[in-house]
């Protein structure tokens, strides 16, 4: 739909040709197009605004390479800036504990339970770990069954206690079970919760304090709109999480939430989910995400080749 951003930018910048540099006047229209593309991709309104200001500063006075369309140069500036903003020190998962405890958090339906399984599978197969899944969602109908099915699919043991309605106690018992049985990674699945639900936010804060995980992950649906910033900030305020997991990227969402969240909490996006199957997990590539947000991978690679 937006693969023509570069065309639009070319048009907006047509005055520029022969001028040799990007000026305040001829860049204004272009920035409007960039901003609109970002908003259409669900980048948060304020962040899109700040971003275009930064891009403007970078663009002003740049020499237009004669081999390139000015629009393409703008796209390259935009893309590089986006990539830089979403990138940074992606350190992977902290596995230094014994066992290493990983706590999942996020809104309802974001993909926590599925990702818990994927991560366990990944750590088992790729990092030769012995993971244990712990079922701390005591609310959602059949949440415990779901985790057991997932565990069965990947051959990872699931610790649960159907008679216990206290997630803090279950998490602690799960970790004790891991210690006693030689598991070196513990992945704690929790119930989905809204950031405005004080009782539930207190609950996860209590789990967090009680178990002191090596790694707390915030799982977010890549289709999330403008609200992504509010939610990410609220979860981060309570949990000071270590990384973000972006799920459902096998869809056609542009995924602007990635930029919004990174901008507002400045935590690395560690993994992405790309399907319902247990193998559908990948590390996060900022540059690919930038292409996706702009909806124009092809054009960018064209620019890079030039």
């Amino acid at each position: 739909m937006f693969s023509n951003l570069s065309d639009k930018l070319d048009k907006a910048l047509h005055v520029l040709k022969g001028h040799g540099s990007i000026t305040e006047v001829n860049v204004a229209e272009t920035l409007k197009e960039v901003r609109r593309a970002l908003l259409d991709a669900d980048v948060n309104f304020k962040i899109a605004k700040e971003f275009t200001t930064t891009v403007k500063e970078k663009a002003l006075g740049q020499n237009v390479l004669t081999t390139l369309q000015p629009g393409q140069l703008m796209v390259k500036i935009v893309k590089d800036e986006l990539t830089a903003l979403m990138g940074g020190d992606a350190e992977g998962i902290n596995l230094s504990g014994n066992p290493s405890v990983i706590l999942m958090s996020g809104l309802q339906g974001s993909g926590k339970t599925t990702f818990s399984g994927k991560l366990a599978n990944y750590l088992k197969n790729k990092k030769t770990k012995k993971p244990l899944l712990v079922a701390c969602d005591v609310y959602r109908p059949a949440a415990i069954d779901q985790l057991h099915v997932v565990g069965g699919q990947i051959g990872v043991e699931v610790f649960s206690d159907r008679d216990n309605k206290n997630p803090v106690a279950i998490a602690q018992a799960g970790i004790a079970h891991a210690k006693a049985n030689g598991y070196n990674v513990v992945i704690i699945d929790t119930a989905g919760r809204l950031a405005v639900d004080e009782v539930m936010m207190n609950e996860i804060s209590n789990i967090h304090k009680a178990i002191q995980p090596q790694e707390t992950l915030f799982v977010v649906d890549a289709m999330t709109g403008q609200d992504a910033v509010n939610t990410a900030k609220a979860f981060n305020d309570v949990l000071n999480f270590d990384g973000v997991i972006l799920t459902k990227l096998d869809g056609d969402t542009r995924g602007g939430a990635a930029l919004s969240i990174k901008s507002v909490v400045n935590k690395p996006i560690k993994f992405i989910g790309t399907g319902e199957k247990m193998e559908a997990i990948d590390v996060f590539y900022p540059s690919r995400m930038a292409d996706r947000i702009l909806g124009m991978g092809d054009v960018v690679s064209l620019v890079e080749r030039a």
Binding site: R36, L39, D40, A41, D42, N44, F45, K46, L107, Q108, G109, S110, G111, T113, T114, Y139, R140, P141, A142, A143, D145, Q146, L147, H148, V149, V150, Q153, L194, A195, V196, D221, M223, T224, G225, Q226, D227, A228, N230, T231, A234, K248, D250, G251, D252, T253, R254, G256, A257, E276
Partner: protein, 297 residues
């Protein structure tokens, strides 16, 4: 409802200390609408309409802006008859009245089905649920728990069974029981997966072997916190299954649900229900006047 009052307070802040609609006010209005996920296109449309009225009426105070916005947004919703229904009743010409529930992963389909079954049962209808999500881990168990909570029968097979076959069985059982309402749960699927979308078309076709004009209702469930991708969802699910009703969930969160306005504007599909929590009673019939009011009250 916190989410909506914050829309209002934002908007009030935007126009505070001003008596006339100027570019500043319109810019702020744009911000409020876009950050509510209304979408750039619909936002521009609303702003253009307001600009046109400012031009025509010469003077427009910010007080009137409030009123006009309310009218414009209600008008966008009215074009699709969103919010015309006032209770959880069904068209009893059809027996059974078959509702097929579709949507992308994790939006709240199964939960909405549980809540709907509860409401229909309360109205005195006999309800049968069909567990045609045979793919997601424990999806059948989840629907079973809802069926038990509400106290309605469920037709199910096994994980991995053919969903169309489950839907077929469900309709047959409903016809035999002379049931009033059938609600079919389907697996979440992303709309860009052609095979999975074709599967929905097939489920629909197979149901028609039992009840020729089924499903009477194809209910697309949208997550209220979804951004612009909701438009693609509406488009592709409609292409595969002729969606004729929308449910918007999770409006108890901070997401503004503005996506409802944009979608109502661009698709001729009425919003029928909104989900406002995980509890069995937390489903409401969508009321556009209340919805719009809650934005500007």
């Amino acid at each position: 409802e916190k989410s909506k009052s914050s829309f209002f307070s934002k908007f009030n802040k935007a126009i505070a200390g001003k008596s006339k609609v100027d570019d500043d006010v319109l810019d702020n209005l744009e911000e409020v609408l876009v950050t509510s996920d209304v979408g750039v296109e619909t936002t521009l449309k609303v702003i253009e309409r307001i600009e046109a009225r400012v031009a025509r009426d010469k003077y427009l105070g910010t007080q009137e802006l409030n009123q006009i916005l309310r009218e414009e947004i209600a008008a966008l919703l009215s074009e699709t008859n969103s919010g015309d229904a006032t209770d959880f009743s069904i068209n009893s010409v059809h027996k059974p009245y078959v509702i097929m529930v579709v949507g992308v992963n994790g939006v709240g389909k199964t939960t909405t089905i549980g809540k709907l079954a509860y409401q229909f049962k309360k109205q005195g209808y006999s309800v049968v649920l069909g567990a045609a999500d045979t793919f997601r881990a424990a999806a059948i168990d989840q629907l079973q728990i809802w069926a038990d909570r509400v106290g309605v029968p469920i037709v199910k097979q096994y994980m991995g069974s053919d969903p169309a076959s489950v839907a077929f069985d469900t309709l047959q059982s409903a016809v035999n029981q002379n049931a009033d309402v059938v609600i079919i749960d389907t697996a979440g699927r992303l709309h860009n997966k052609v095979n999975l979308m074709n599967e929905l078309t097939k489920i629909k076709r197979v149901m028609q072997k039992v009840v020729p004009d089924a499903p009477q209702e194809v209910l697309l469930v949208l997550d209220g916190s979804t951004g612009q991708n909701a438009f693609e969802q509406a488009k592709h699910f409609t292409a595969a299954t002729e969606v004729n009703a929308l449910a918007v969930t999770k409006l108890d969160g901070t997401a503004k649900g503005g996506v409802v306005i944009g979608i109502s504007d661009q698709f001729q599909i009425p919003v029928k229900y909104i989900g406002v929590g995980e509890g069995i009673e937390q489903l409401q019939v969508f009321n556009k006047f209340e919805f719009v009011d809650s934005f500007f009250k």
